[in-house]
Symmetry: D2
């Protein structure tokens, strides 16, 4: 019998998509979906295109936590206490929030607020399989990366690992689904349509997550990270402008470096020309191109993902696959 799994917080975009992927997944048994709003509505009423014939239930841990695994799609801050409960009951968890991504609680406090369960931070594995594949297999708590960090880290890891990043500007563009399902002035069609604008300037919360993981790779650098909203539903592009460490650049063949880094990765795709987000829509794929600008000696790296898929839901399933010994691409390829 396949492992049973609950999705907590399935009324939002990423939770609902996770539910869809698990509902069709041959290796898991999606037993319940809960929500903090829209309880009693069917998921296929809320999201007809996901075709998940389940009712959104109000959280009842005694009934809903008797599963092998859980995906938690709660907002930052609200996730940690639920994750703590689930872990106590022995449930293996993939958490989509930011609550377990930062290893240092003081950094979390600086960018979010006081951490509800700081003692659990060192139990979590950062859920970027291309980086922590082996750790994820053994993990009981996986912190799914933020959508921007997922793309940015895949874009920058080969350079970071070689110690080649002296400075980096990351200019990101995201579709409106990245702003979540809550209706607001920002997500109103008439605001977002025919528009582009930056937000979260100059301190978007994904910045420390990118810096933490770049540092772990060997690049101790302050990142300038600026996201923009563009008029499309799902898809995300990060454009990374890297000042390459002095002296290293002349002989550097960045295309070869990226080929060596990613040839064996099933969900990273290298392209000779700048990727479009349309190329990766509704896939778990990160499509990357890398370029040298001989005039400025910079390396320019573009990475495109679907923010709801590789940036959240399908990445969560990729992590679950690893945790439960399933083929890594099962249910998401």
């Amino acid at each position: 019998m396949p492992p049973s799994v609950s999705v907590f917080g399935a009324a939002g975009f990423t939770g609902a998509l996770t539910a869809r992927l698990l509902h069709r997944h041959p290796g898991f048994d999606l037993s319940v979906v809960t929500a903090r709003s829209d309880m009693g509505r069917r998921l296929d009423d809320l999201y007809p295109y996901h075709r998940v014939p389940l009712m959104l239930e109000e959280l009842d841990l005694d009934r809903h936590a008797s599963v092998d695994a859980a995906v938690v799609a709660y907002p930052h801050g609200a996730a940690a206490p639920l994750v703590a409960e689930l872990r106590e009951r022995g449930v293996r968890v993939v958490d989509l929030s930011a609550d377990f991504r930062l290893r240092d609680p003081t950094v979390y406090e600086l960018w979010y607020r006081e951490h509800p369960t700081p003692q659990m931070l060192d139990q979590a594995v950062y859920g970027l399989p291309e980086r922590y594949r082996e750790e994820i297999r053994e993990a009981d708590l996986v912190a799914n990366p933020g959508c921007y960090p997922a793309a940015a880290l895949l874009a920058l890891a080969p350079l970071a690992r070689e110690g080649l990043i002296d400075d980096v500007v990351i200019d990101a563009k995201s579709g409106v689904s990245g702003a979540g399902r809550a209706p607001s002035e920002k997500t109103h069609f008439v605001t977002a349509d025919e528009n582009v604008n930056a937000y979260g300037v100059p301190r978007h919360r994904h910045t420390p997550e990118i810096e933490q993981e770049l540092e772990a790779l060997g690049a101790d650098v302050r990142v300038t990270f600026t996201p923009h909203l563009v008029p499309l539903d799902q898809g995300e592009l990060v454009s990374c402008y890297v000042t390459v460490t002095n002296g290293a650049t002349d002989a550097l063949d960045v295309e070869q470096l990226y080929a060596d880094s990613y040839d064996a990765e099933p969900f990273v795709e290298l392209a000779p020309t700048p990727p479009g987000v349309r190329d990766v829509r509704e896939t778990n794929i990160c499509r990357i191109s890398v370029h040298r600008d001989p005039r400025t000696d910079r390396a320019i790296v573009f990475a495109a993902i679907d923010n709801l898929w590789k940036g959240a839901a399908s990445q969560a399933v990729q992590n679950l696959n690893l945790m439960f010994g399933r083929p890594e691409g099962e249910g998401i390829a």
Copy 2:
């Protein structure tokens, strides 16, 4: 000194646009903008592109009603009492709501609810200048048409006036601004983008307004009217499928009929091919094409307007121009 005018309800899309048009209008003095939400915010903060440097104020009739004219952009039901107050104080009013469009209070009650001020209905003139130009000049209370009726009536009037409409199906397509500024699941970018769907089936509230005015033109017909939401911000197309009255059709030259009807109209434009809503974006123009289908003997009429302009705000200004003896196209052409 030009007449002073207030816009009541300027936080919404149509009220805000009316404020913009009046702010730049050489013939009126926009003295105040009020709102029922966002009081204290500047209009050019809420809508930077309108560039109206006024603060949204909370309604204070004693201060705000000492004007020559008012445009009321309140929701249905809420408008009538304010309009009644304004009329008592001698203010000439253009009302953007449905409250004074229907002449028969029992019809209003059937489609909306009990009418707050039924005794005022016969004071109102229906604000379609191409139909009631002379009456509007003399009116103290003008009921600005609904966006769909405005387009549908301009599309159908020439046939209706000739007694040629036996039956009609009106299939309308509107941009999302037609759903108003309130953020909701329906107006969320991710709902509306890459989508088309009908709504208000089978009883949209603009139906009796269309029927009332068609009847006044001579066409006593039950209208099938179905609006659809399409993924664009502003613009509206009505496609009218007319079963022409028996016997009248062989000799009928519809193109000539429309040319005769509209040649002198400054804001109706005839086109040989189906109009696109892009053709009339941000204008007070209704662009119309008429076609005969020899196979089915139907007449097919398309009319495109900008739902926020000719469908609401610029039409209100056109009415104000008539009421105050200004050139009809001043400030909107």
Copy 3:
């Protein structure tokens, strides 16, 4: 060994998508893709998101026709000669063009031009599985329906079969992919964006196809059919306004009629509210809602499909599945 299949004309939108579906299909072996333009380019260069690692080849029947099955995605008129060649060589064919949809060559000539191979018309089965499932299983030549007829016929079949259609107006809305891959003024982003307009007025070529199949179901009616272009990439909605045959209407429970008609159909989905094209994006599903308007006594039926999927490519694969005894939904669900 699974049957081998070629896709002829794989550079266009529908051919390329068919290639993708067959490339991943467990029951077929996609051996070759040909094109009349872009020969020598890889399909995953032209359409990265389809991820089909095959080169587009120039047609060489001796090499490319030694397959069990073929999908032909040629323009109208160009398809028939190729299909004739393929049939002579014993290849079972699904043809995406209009060349074998109309049974009467004089009707074809009236709406298209002289038919290249009129003698083959009676060999073709109209490839709407919900209507001709058993005939398709035995067919060697299947004429895949046009995208508009596919949706319209699924919308209207239950009423037609009961003899309830006295008259019908079909107002259709399609995404821009329906206009094909050739760049033109019409398909330019700046033309289509923020726009809606009718085209093919009043004689769109899909009209006789709809009429032929409605008549075969028992509804001998002249159809008023008008398509519109809306600013989205893929998706199609047909809004059908049916004048119900006199006298039949009072007792008529249309919702029950549709439930009875479609309960067993795997790819027809009934909805209580008007379907959106987003609900069926990238699926083989036709989502339908039916409504009665008590005021006009009309039945109003909406049907949403993805024009590239159920309107073309996935329907072709559904047909291939039937022809070769595979599960009907294999590779498309």
Copy 4:
């Protein structure tokens, strides 16, 4: 009698818009519009929304050059010879191409090709009024800036003038109209919709133009400039990441610097939050916000324009206004 003006190359997006602005302009008499394609078509057939009732004529210098002024909207390389002819006949010219923007013919040759009329380069004034207002008044040949340089230079000028730019990355996002009217794979709706991607990497031709003008302001810097295509029709955002010159930063009040620089500029608007391109749609306005990132010590500047207006056509009219002593904002505000 107002000065007469011709628009040469009015079939393209920027030429057609220039024609519209001049057609309605009280201070100029638009006498002729020519084109290199679509000759004989009326401009209001090609662009109904511009409503310019003129026929596109084939170039006939003897007839068309007897004007006071000309706007040339030809492609790079084709513009120079026509401009030379016009200047010989004493016509004052605003040229929308790149042909007279670069002062050094060897730089032009490096990024474009051999310059057709290098001897004329020093006669041209770079048409950015906020920078060269007085020179433009006297000029007979004005080189209208590229759309990206226009926005980037307005964004960076205050910092450049103070010698504060040590390094800069410019990440730009443009609507599809920026790619021109020619239908292509790139401008096809289905390519651009739901997509974002970089292009012209790493050597877009607007780079030397930005560098030339930054240097003239005092910033001798190699610019990293990367444009992206976003799914909207018109609008452009440049996001500028400036490494501020060492030592200057602590005391630097960038907001004050920008206020001082632009307070008197009628078409530069400062905003406290990042501007959206929707804020400036169909205006001659450049909307700018400037931010300091205390973590990285960078200055981040955003500038939004309408690429067809301030990025081309309305800027051309602004220049004509200056050249002919008209109010600077006439016909464009």
